[in-house]
Symmetry: C2
DNA sequence: CATGAAAATTGGAACGTTTCAACATAGCGA
DNA sequence: TCGCTATGTTGAAACGTTCCAATTTTCATG
C-alpha cells in the first residue's frame, strides 16, 4: 500500500498540486467551491500531508528542544523539565519531554528520534550504569548535535549541569553528627545513577572528616522506587533489634524517604522522636507531609533553566562551542523530620 | 548566514555528497582515511545534518506518538502518559510528552509541532475554557491527523477516552450522606477544565436525588494549584465560625485535597474527626499521607493505555475510522480521611 | 460584446538528504 | 604486462511538499 500524496489528491480532484497545497495551508486564493471539493477528496483518500516534506522546503521554522529524563513520575525530574521549559519558551522554543524509565535502549532511541525529527537539541539525564553504553552520545557528537547532560558521564566531553552531591551529603551528615547522632545509616539508591555513587562517597567522606568511624554496613542499598524501598525498609527494621536501629537515616532522595516514612509508620517508629530522617531533592510533596521533611534542596528549576540556557546557546551558535560544566549549589533545609539526639 | 549542507562539506573535503552521506551513516564502504578527513571537515564547518531531509527520502521509518497534558507536575497526568507509553511501546511506538500548562496557545503550538514533525498522532488533554478555542483541533481534522481527546469537547466529533465524573462524584456524595453528613461542601476546580463542571453537576445531582436540599453556597471555587487552593481553603475556614463548618468536603482532585489538608492542619482542624475529606484521582502521593485519603480512583494507567490503543488503531488504518468514545469506570476508595458523623 | 483588472489556477524548480548503478582505482596472481 | 576482484567513489534521480512567475478564467464595466 502506497502513501497517499498531494499528487494523488490533485489528480483525483482534477486540480493541480499547487491548488491542493493552497487549500491545505488555508490560503484565500482558492475559490470556495474548489476548496470544498478538494477537502472532500482529501477526506475520501484519508490524505495526511507529510510534515517532513513541508519543512524541507520551508527551511527552519520551528524552534524546539527535547528533554530525556529518567522517570516521568518523579517530580524532581518534571520540575527540572519545567525550568527548562520556562527558559526555552522565553526564547521561543517548544519543549518536548521524554522518559527513558531507566532503560538504556529507550535513551538511545529517543536521542535518535530527536535528531531525526530536527528537534534542535537535547537535555539528557543519562543512565550511567557500568561503563560504556554511551555509543549514542558519541553519535550525537559526530552529528554536531547540541546536548547538555544532567550528570557527568565519564569518557565524554560534553556540556554538563550538575549538583555537588558529595558536598551536599557531607553537610547533612555533619549536621546530624553535630546534633549528637552517631548511629547514622545511608539508604542508597539504584546503581545506574551517578547520584547514588556520589552520595555514598559524600557519606563516607563526612565520616572520615569526623571523629566517628565509618563502617560498611552503614550503607544499605534499598532502591528508590516506592514499593521496592518500602519493602526493603520494612525488612531492614524488622530484621534487627530496636537497640540496633540507627538514630538517623540519610535517604537517597525524597521519594525513597517517603517510602521509608511509610514503613516507619507501619512499624510504629516515630519520626523524628525515634529516628531522624533526611531526604534529598526537596520535591514538592515531601513538604506537604505532616512531618515536613528535612532535606537537601536541589535547585531543580534552576538546573533546568541553566541547562536550557547552555543548550540554546549551543544551538544558535554557528560555530562549535567548547563544553561548559556548571555545578549548582544545594541548600540543606532543616524541617521537622530531624531532631537532636536526647542524651 | 546560510545553512551548512552536505554539499558544502563535500566540496570542502573534496569528495562527493554520496561519500559524506556514507560517513554520516557509518557505512563501511569508506576508506578509513577518507572517513577521518570528512569527519574533520564536518566538525570544522559545524555541519548538522538535516533530519527532515533524511526522513523524506527514506519514507516512514519511525513510529511515534505525542501526548499533550495540562500539567507536567501533576501525577494524574504523568501516570496517564506512562500508561500510554506502555501500550505504545508494545506496538513499537515512541512517545513524547508535552504540557500545555493550562495555556491555550501552548496547546495549539504543540498540536502544530506534532503534525509538522510527523509525529504520527496525538493524545490531548484539551483545555475547554469558554466556547471555541478549538480551531487547532479542526485543523487537525482537516489534515486527517489522528488524535484522541481525554475530555469531551463540545462541537467536535473525535475519539474520546474519559471518565464518568458525574457518576463518580454522585457516588461519593451519596456515601457521605449515608454515613450521616448533611453539611457537605464541594471545593471546585479551575474553570478551564471540563472535569470541574462535570463534578459540580454530579454534586448537584446527588443532592437532588436525596432528601437533602442543594444550596449554591455548597460549591466553592478554590482552584487546584497548591498555593492557590491552600490560600483559599485557609480563608474559607477563617472567615466563618466553627459551627458553620461543613462536616465533609468533596475536593476537586487529590492535589487540591492535599492543599486543603495542609490548611486544616495549620488551623488545627482534625481529619477525619472534625471534617471528612474526599479527594479525586487517587494520585500516588495521596496514599502515602499518614491519613490516607478517601478518594475517587480514576484508572489513570488504563486511560492512557486505552487512548494509545485507539490512537494507534487510527494511525495504522488506511481509511478514516469513525470516532470512538470510551467512558471508563472509577472506583470509590474509602480510606481514613472520612468517617461517619457522630450524632 | 469587448476590454481590462482581479481572481483563481497551474506547473516546474527548489529544499537537503539517500540511494544505487556506474565508474575508478588498487592489489594481486599469472 | 594484463586481466580480474575487491574496494572506494561518484553523480543523478527521488522523496513530497511549497513557492511563485506565468497563465487562464471570471467578472464588472462601458
Amino acid at each position: 500500500m502506497q502513501r497517499v500524496t498531494i499528487e494523488d489528491v490533485a489528480r483525483r480532484a482534477g486540480v493541480s498540486k499547487g491548488t491542493v497545497s493552497a487549500v491545505i495551508n488555508g490560503r484565500n486564493t482558492v475559490r470556495a467551491e474548489t476548496r470544498e471539493h478538494v477537502l472532500n477528496v482529501m477526506k475520501e483518500l484519508n490524505f495526511r500531508p507529510r510534515g517532513v516534506a513541508r519543512n524541507l522546503k520551508n527551511g527552519e521554522l520551528d524552534k524546539s528542544i527535547g528533554i530525556i529524563i529518567k522517570d516521568l513520575s518523579y517530580p524532581f525530574y518534571t520540575t527540572i523539565a519545567l525550568g527548562a521549559r520556562e527558559y526555552a519558551n522565553s526564547k521561543g522554543y517548544s519543549v518536548v519531554v521524554t522518559s527513558s524509565e531507566n532503560d538504556h535502549e529507550c535513551e538511545r532511541k529517543y536521542t535518535h528520534l530527536f535528531s531525526a525529527k530536527d528537534i534542535k537539541g537535547a537535555i539528557i539525564a543519562p543512565l550511567v550504569e557500568g561503563t560504556a553504553e554511551i555509543e549514542h552520545l558519541f553519535k550525537l557528537k559526530m552529528l554536531n548535535y547540541p546536548f547538555v547532560l544532567l550528570e557527568d558521564v565519564k569518557g565524554i566531553q560534553a556540556n554538563v549541569v550538575a549538583i555537588d552531591n558529595i558536598k551536599a551529603i557531607k553537610k547533612a551528615v555533619k549536621y546530624l553528627i553535630e546534633i549528637g547522632h552517631t548511629k547514622i545509616v545511608h539508604f542508597a539508591g539504584p546503581p545506574q545513577s551517578s547520584h547514588t555513587h556520589e552520595r555514598i562517597d559524600g557519606f563516607r567522606q563526612a565520616f572520615s572528616e569526623s571523629p566517628l568511624v565509618f563502617r560498611e554496613d552503614m550503607i544499605v542499598s534499598i532502591g528508590s522506587r516506592h514499593e521496592e524501598s518500602y519493602g526493603n525498609a520494612l525488612q531492614y527494621f524488622r530484621s534487627r533489634n530496636r537497640e540496633d536501629y540507627p538514630t538517623a537515616v540519610v535517604c537517597f532522595n525524597d521519594q525513597q524517604a517517603l517510602a521509608v516514612l511509610t514503613a516507619l509508620r507501619e512499624l510504629n517508629i516515630r519520626v523524628p522522636d525515634d529516628i531522624s530522617i533526611v531526604g534529598n531533592d526537596d520535591i514538592y510533596y515531601a513538604r506537604l507531609y505532616p512531618v515536613p521533611l528535612t532535606t537537601i534542596r536541589a535547585p531543580q528549576y534552576e538546573i533546568g533553566r541553566k541547562a536550557a540556557e547552555i543548550l540554546i546557546r549551543n544551538i544558535e551558535s554557528p560555530t562549535a562551542l567548547p563544553p561548559e560544566k556548571v555545578v549548582l549549589e544545594t541548600d540543606f533545609i532543616i524541617r521537622e523530620s530531624t531532631k537532636p539526639l536526647r542524651t
